[in-house]
């Protein structure tokens, strides 16, 4: 069965720090990968997605992620975080019966 692991459950950073959130998946076939963000009290919104091609994908708000097939990883990065990036971040793998989500990373940015 597919599974998604997010290594960091809580991350606290200062503004302007660099961010990297880890995501590993377990699936041997073709994967379609996503990062979603959930701002406090809101629904999930798509940050970025990878289907094929260039393994470095860029999303909204300056986020990017790199797909490394050999490591089964899809880590999320941002060079310089802002206070408004405080949110919960979910990595997910697409499958026929729905998205399989990681448990999420709660990111807090301190001003």
């Amino acid at each position: 069965a597919q599974s998604v692991s997010q290594h960091n459950h809580h991350v606290i950073l200062s503004e302007a720090a660099s961010l990297e959130l880890g995501c590993n998946y377990s699936y041997g076939g073709t994967v379609n990968l996503f990062w979603y963000v959930q701002y406090p009290g809101q629904h999930l919104q798509l940050l970025l997605k990878y289907f094929s091609g260039d393994p470095l994908v860029k999303g909204i708000k300056g986020f990017e992620a790199e797909f490394i097939k050999s490591k089964f990883s899809f880590n999320l990065r941002k060079p310089s975080v802002q206070w408004s990036d405080t949110a919960e971040y979910f990595c997910a793998v697409n499958r026929a019966d729905g998205l399989t989500f990681g448990k999420g990373t709660h990111l807090i940015i301190q001003p």
Binding site: N32, H43, K49, N94, T100
Partner: protein, 115 residues
């Protein structure tokens, strides 16, 4: 364009009561999903539907039933609510006529408390 709309947004139930959560999408999507979100657990799939008139069980289906009588609506029912069903419920839809290369769109969520 409303996207995915869930009603109600908040609800408090007593143990044993029943209720139905409604999800409506106006994007003509084939696939619809119900997830529950619990602290430290991420989102877990309850039930899903791949088209009008079809439903299937997800990861945590016990205690829930669903119906998809119309393509745009996906109903989640709790027949006899239990405190363990206290959660935030999200509905999502996805176009996906040919494969998995489409994103899911989520509703605003329903916060349900069972006392």
């Amino acid at each position: 364009n409303a996207g995915v709309t869930q009603t109600p947004k908040f609800r408090v139930l007593k143990t044993g009561q029943s209720m139905t959560l409604l999800c409506a999408q106006d994007m003509n999507h084939e696939y619809m999903y119900w997830y529950r979100q619990d602290p430290g657990m991420g989102l877990r799939l309850i039930h899903y539907s791949v088209g009008e008139g079809t439903t299937a069980k997800g990861e945590v289906p016990d205690g829930y039933n669903v119906s998809r009588l119309k393509k745009q609506n996906f109903l989640l029912g709790l027949e006899s609510a239990a405190p363990s069903q206290t959660s935030v419920y999200f509905c999502a839809s996805r176009r996906d006529p040919q494969g998995l290369r489409t994103e899911a769109f989520f509703g605003q969520g329903t916060r349900l408390t069972v006392v």
